[in-house]
Structures are given as structure tokens and as C-alpha cells.
């Protein structure tokens, strides 16, 4: 059955967005990412204008991350305090990121810088997570739990003021740490035009040292708030949110997020990290392939990457 999308001005077979929502929702529930890095390019491939694809995806993520946050909160895997501190940083970072794009555009090479930042970030994060998870899985085979050596970096973090204990995550940090790193992710996410879940998850795992299952729930919580803000701004200023498309996507993604959350509890933290790392690396390879292959069309809609 086909439905007409009133803002995207195109018609779509409803099975496609519902199925797509299901898959991306599953990833959200499993890994705590919004999945924009998969969903937006796929929607563009289906003929949805780039600006509508990104805006509608954020609307859909509101539903998927609500569903996912709820599922993780039920089993006590959402650290609200940490989530709020990351959100403060993310909000301020987003404002800086938007300014950074303006400066890049004025310099005239914005697209190149944005694309390179995106590929490098995906590649580095994917490769690091992949290698690190394999190493930690190997270590666990030989010795169960050995306290890790404290690096110089973590010593610096511990010397910062406003130290506070994050109960749900079982870690103690200066409140400045999540604010600063949330801000850092916020800047990059705004520059790249993505939600930044694939950056936030590694920040929480490797810098904030949170347990993977709490990372997923907390990441979804802060993605929820980011996407509410983005959806409103997109609807209000750019009129780019397609309500019908969002509903079709969320029919799949809200269920996918629940299934992902249930399934994720059965996997170990390292397993989750490795699968996420592989997905991020596959996306990186796909983008590099697209960048180096001659496109079939040399003209495209304004507004996309």
C-alpha cells in the first residue's frame, strides 16, 4: 500500500519505512544510538528530499528513544544525573557548532571539512571500539578482573573541581567532565549534521567509564531531549518535518527499540561494543566507497551532505 507524504511531496510503499524503522529502532534499543547515520541516507535513497529526511528522522527518534529510554529505565539502566550534565554540554556545544558551520561556509570549503570530519570520526571511533573490545574480551579469558592502571588523563580528570558521584553508573567525576565532553560531541554533531550518538556512546564508555548497559539507557535519554529540540526547530523554522513519514517510521522504531532493549540485556557489554563498532566501520567503508566512486548523477538537491 502506498501513502503520499505531504511535506516530502512523494509517495512511498508503507512497508519500507515501517521495516526501516524496525531495524534502526532495534539498533537504538541495543546500542543507544539514534541511528541517523543509517536512516537519513537511506531515506534520501528512497527519494525523500535531504532536508526533510534529516528533520523527519529526528521526529522519529523522539518516539524510538522514548520507547528505548522507558525500556532501559524499567531495569534501572538510565543515569538521569549524568544525562542532564551531558545535555547541558551538548546544548552549549550545539550552539558553538552552528557558529562553526557558518564560519566554514564563509571560508568556502564547508562540505569538504564536514565530510572529512564525519569519515574520520566514524573511522576512528569504529576502529578504536573494535580493537579495544577484542582486547578486553581476550584479557577476560585469562584473568577475571584486574584493576586497570590509572592513566595520566584520568588523574587530570580527578583533579578537577565539583567532584560528584553518579550513583546509577557507579562512577565519580567532576560535573565538568560530562559537560565538557557533552559539549565536544555537541559541536561535532552540529557540524556533521547528525545526532552524535555514535560519538556519545564511546565518550561514556571510555572517558566516563560507565558500564555499557547504563551507557545505552543514558544515551537514549539525552538523545530524546536533543531530538525534541531539533524536531521543534525544524518544524518551526524550516517546515521540513513530514508527519506521515514520521508516523510510519515510528510504528517500526518504537517496537524495534523495545526488542533491542530486551535483546541487549542478553548480550555482554563487550559484545554490544563489538557489534556497534562493526556497524560504524561498515558505514565508514560505505561512505568512503561513495566518495571515491563516480556518482551516476552529478547534480543533487541542495541541503544534503
Amino acid at each position: 500500500m502506498y501513502l503520499y507524504l505531504p511535506v516530502a511531496l512523494t509517495s512511498i510503499n508503507i512497508i519500507i519505512p515501517i521495516g526501516l524503522g524496525l531495524v534502526v529502532g532495534l539498533l537504538s534499543g541495543l546500542f543507544g544510538v539514534g541511528g541517523g547515520f543509517l536512516m537519513t541516507p537511506l531515506l534520501i535513497m528512497l527519494g525523500i528530499p535531504a532536508t526533510v529526511a534529516a528533520a523527519t528522522d529526528s521526529n522519529q527518534i523522539v518516539a524510538a528513544s522514548t520507547s528505548g529510554t522507558y525500556a532501559h529505565w524499567k531495569v534501572g539502566n538510565v543515569d538521569f544525573k549524568m544525562g542532564f550534565h551531558l545535555l547541558i554540554g551538548g546544548f552549549v556545544g550545539g550552539l558553538f557548532g552552528v557558529q562553526a558551520i557558518k564560519i566554514l561556509r564563509a571560508m568556502g570549503n564547508a562540505d569538504f571539512v564536514i565530510k572529512m570530519t564525519y569519515v574520520l570520526m566514524l573511522g576512528i571511533v569504529g576502529a578504536y571500539m573494535f580493537i579495544e573490545s577484542i582486547q578486553s574480551m581476550r584479557k577476560k579469558k585469562f584473568e577475571d578482573s584486574k584493576p586497570e592502571k590509572e592513566s595520566g588523563f584520568s588523574k587530570v580528570l580527578k583533579s578537577l573541581p565539583l567532584q560528584t558521584h553518579y550513583e546509577k553508573s557507579g562512577v565519580t567525576h567532576s560535573a565538568l567532565v560530562p559537560v565538557i565532553f557533552g559539549g565536544f560531541v555537541g559541536v561535532l554533531a552540529a557540524v556533521m549534521g547528525v545526532g552524535g550518538g555514535f560519538l556519545m556512546v564511546p565518550v561514556m564508555v571510555y572517558i566516563l567509564r560507565m558500564p555499557m548497559h547504563v551507557v545505552v539507557g543514558t544515551s537514549l535519554f539525552q538523545i530524546l531531549f536533543n531530538c525534541i529540540e531539533v524536531t521543534f526547530l525544524q518544524a518551526y523554522t524550516n517546515h521540513n518535518v513530514d508527519f506521515i513519514l514520521a508516523v510510519l517510521l515510528l510504528l517500526g522504531s518504537t517496537i524495534g527499540a523495545q526488542v533491542g532493549a530486551v535483546f541487549g540485556r542478553k548480550l555482554k557489554g563487550e559484545q554490544l561494543k563489538i557489534i556497534l563498532a562493526v556497524i560504524v566501520l561498515v558505514v565508514t567503508v560505505k561512505i568512503v566507497f561513495d566518495l571515491t566512486t563516480t556518482p551516476s548523477l552529478l547534480l543533487g538537491q541542495a541541503g544534503g551532505h
Binding site: 502506498y2 511531496l9 523522539v62 569538504f112 521543534f232 508527519f243 527499540a257 547534480l299 541542495a302
Partner: protein
Amino acid sequence: MKISNLIAAVITALAVIYSGTASADLTINANRDHISIGFFYHGSTVSVSGLSDTGTDMIVKITAPDGHETLKQKGKAAGFLWMNIGTLKFEHAPSLYFIHATKKPDEILNAEEMNKHIIGYPALSKHMEIMPVSGDEERTKWFDEFISYKEASKLYAASSGLIKITNENGRQKYYMQTDWPYQAPPGEYLVTVYAVKDKKVMEKAEAKVTVEQAGIVKALSGMAKNNGALYGIISILIALGAGFGVGMIFRKGGGAH
């Protein structure tokens, strides 16, 4: 003799005048003058038919009014990476342009007539403005890319042989049916039929097709444009509701976990 010569001359002159103003001879009917975009819309079909003088070739042109488009231009950055390297502006470019003819337009029309009536891609190329381009070669390249882009979106098409001709009671009947793409935005489209003979347009006739949104599609699209804040808030609330709703259902159903 002089009188008969005069009568012959008058008859010839009248015949010439008649053939030049014979617009009543060519008729056009579009099967629909109104296409309504509803909730389940997935494109439509448009058929164009009518009567013309026998022995004329037919050209059917369907266009949107002239518009302008700004498109991103892909090119190689740093020597090997394909990405957006700039934007191109296309002025006097109709958002939709279909040209269907009994034979290839350049075989049945001279260049001057094609340009005058904007029949065929070469004539459209002369009609359009592309900025910024550094010369004719680059202009041709980007015009061809524009056509490829539009044809991929099903908004431009050119064909010969789609129009069927039959003879009826000494008149010629033409008929053509084409898919109307769902990608065509709401608006007013002009269907023009040209009767062509001796490399010239002998007659033309026009019909209009209006594409309009209706029902829920119209209501949502209007709200998105005119009441963005409320539209955004409703979209967010429904997403939140759906997320919680599904969460509740799973909580009830998935108590064993």
C-alpha cells in the same frame, strides 16, 4: 479570362488565409483537467487525444511554468573524492517537461520552429539560463546533467512513437497516454499539442491540468507551512505518546523478562 483568373486568385488567397487561421481544426482533450493528491496518491495517468488534419505529424508537450532551481554540483575534491563542490542555478527551467512526438522532433521541425515553441531538449537548453558556467562546453555538460537528474526523478521525458494516429471519416485522430509521476508537485500544468507539416507548426491547441492536494494531505501540508510551531509540538507529542504507549504494551506483555 481575366475574370476567371481573378476568381482563381481570390480562391487561392482565401485558402491560404484559411489554412493559417485554422485553429478550430485541431482539437485537444486531456482525460483529466484536475488531479487530486489524496492520502493514497501514487501518481496517475494522463491521456491526450483529439482530431487534426490528415498527414500532419503530432507533438504533445506537457510543461510546468518556468521556474528556477538551485542544485548542488558534485565534483572531485582533492583530486579523487566526489563531493559537493558548489551550487548551480537553473533559470527559466520548468519543474516538469514532457515532449512526445510521432517522430523525432528534429526530423519533422526546423530549428527555428523548435526554438520558437521550445520543443525538444536543445530548444529548452537555449531557453534556460545556467549560472555560473565558464563557457559553452561546460554549459552543455551541466545542461545534460540537469536532464539526467530530472529524468531520474521522472519529471522530464522525451519520446517519439508514443502517439498513436488513426484515420476516421477523413480526419486524423491522435491519442497518447503517459504516466503522471507522483513526484510532480502541486501546480498548474499546460498541455500543448502541435500539428506539424513541412517542418513547420501548422496549428496548436492547449489544455490545462491542475494538480492539487486534497483532504488530509492538504491539511497537513498547510499546517506544516503556516503553523510550524503547533505542527512541531503535535509531531513531538505524538512521538512521545507512541514511545510511551509501545513501552507500556511491552511492559505488560514482557513481564517475564
